[in-house]
């Protein structure tokens, strides 16, 4: 049975935003720290580190999850997506990001990457999500600028636009 010693650094391999990545991690290393410090992608933010604030939310095998409540070694073999997957290679914003910009859905921006990854996952499984469902999804995120009204507005507009019911503002 594979036993990874506490003091050693062990190979972790997973798919990240469509590309295989590998790195070494102690068993206690959180996925959030692995993404930021080993892989070097700092779009995933680290807030409370006990699963409450939602800033570190990424997608694991398609579902939104707290990367601070997942060990890097637990993610071995998984399919991980982070906020870096959203914009195009030329830096063009994806429709969700675009909507956040258009509707002032961020102030300091610290909570935004996590929120985007939750909403992106919701959009895939529930493209018809109501505002109540969107608010339910957002309840797993804290915005300390308290910009919730414009976050909800940006999210609702993005879902409506994706459904083709254009409500431009």
């Amino acid at each position: 049975m594979p036993r990874l010693s506490a003091a050693g650094r062990h190979a972790v391999t997973f798919t990240l935003n469509g590309t295989d990545v590998s790195g070494a991690a102690e068993p206690r290393m959180l996925l959030s720290d692995f993404l930021r410090q080993v892989v070097g992608l700092t779009g995933t933010h680290v807030g409370c580190e006990h699963g409450v604030c939602g800033a570190c939310t990424v997608q694991i095998d398609g579902a939104p999850a707290r990367s601070c409540l997942t060990l890097a070694v637990q993610a071995d073999g998984c399919d991980i997506r982070t906020v870096e997957a959203l914009a195009g290679p030329d830096g063009s914003l994806d429709p969700l990001q675009d909507s956040f910009r258009a509707h002032h859905g961020l102030q300091c921006g610290f909570c935004t990457p996590g929120i985007l990854m939750s909403l992106d996952a919701l959009m895939r499984v529930r493209p018809d999500a109501s505002e109540a469902e969107i608010r339910d999804c957002l309840s797993g995120h804290l915005c300390r600028c308290t910009g919730y009204a414009s976050i909800v507005r940006a999210a609702v507009a993005a879902f409506e636009k994706a459904r083709g019911g254009a409500r431009e503002s």
Binding site: M1, P2, R3, L4, S5, A6, A7, E26, P27, R28, L30, D33, E49, H50, G51, G54, T57, I60, A63, P64, A65, R66, C68, L69, T70, L71, V73, Q74, S118, L122, D136, C137, S139, G140
Partner: protein, 275 residues
Amino acid sequence: MKPAPFDYVRAGSLEEALEALAGAGADARIVAGGQSLLPMLNMRLARPGVLVDIMRLANLRRIEERGGEIVIGAGVRQAELEAWPRLADTLPLVAAMLPLLGHVQTRSRGTVCGSIAHADPSAELPLALVALGGAVHLRSQRARRRVAAGDFFAGMMATDMADDEMIEAVSFPAARPGTGHAFREVARRHGDFAIVACAAVVDGTVARLAVGGVADRPVVRAMPMPDEAGLDDALNEFAWDLDARDDVHATARYRRDLVRAIGRQVLEEAARCRD
């Protein structure tokens, strides 16, 4: 806010997991979804020397209907139970609770059995297990035993589980015709731990009320039916017997008020929705 060092065992079989537990004793902890344990590790409220990961064990990732019970393996995530097509018919009480259990971002990883093992006194799934009279299936290298929900929870985050035991599954009795269920909780924000959570089961003319978030564990008690005169007194007695304490979230008095008010609401709702 980083865990203290630990060895990590990725169990390839149940036997391997049990062997690792037997070898390390109290120094080992099972990790499944990690949504209760990782916060404890990050805050160093738990410092196990060995973590035994059971999520690669396909045998534990099953939901089965067996002899009038729903048996949920230790690897079943809360989101998987939420998406199980038979849930609303067989476990309406659990179906009502799941949307309020943490958030979609934690239910995607957290397991049903993990929440039971964590035994937080205000958590929803332990309350459901006690309300419905379910059982916890424990396993060690030595033996296999089944503990009734009422005997499993021993206090705040304390259970009847021995150091070398792990939860293999939990079982809930499936809803029978003529039974009504209702659940309601009060929390500061949607998805937070409940200040008071109440679950009612009305089976024919027999009513039961379970309360979480007040005592050091979920507590269930037989109650008069909502149309009987004695209900207010019974609710009041229950509210006082739970020995509520003041804390940062709510006063003891507010908690007793909630037990009386929500207790009546869920009993009335459960009685109404008997089919």
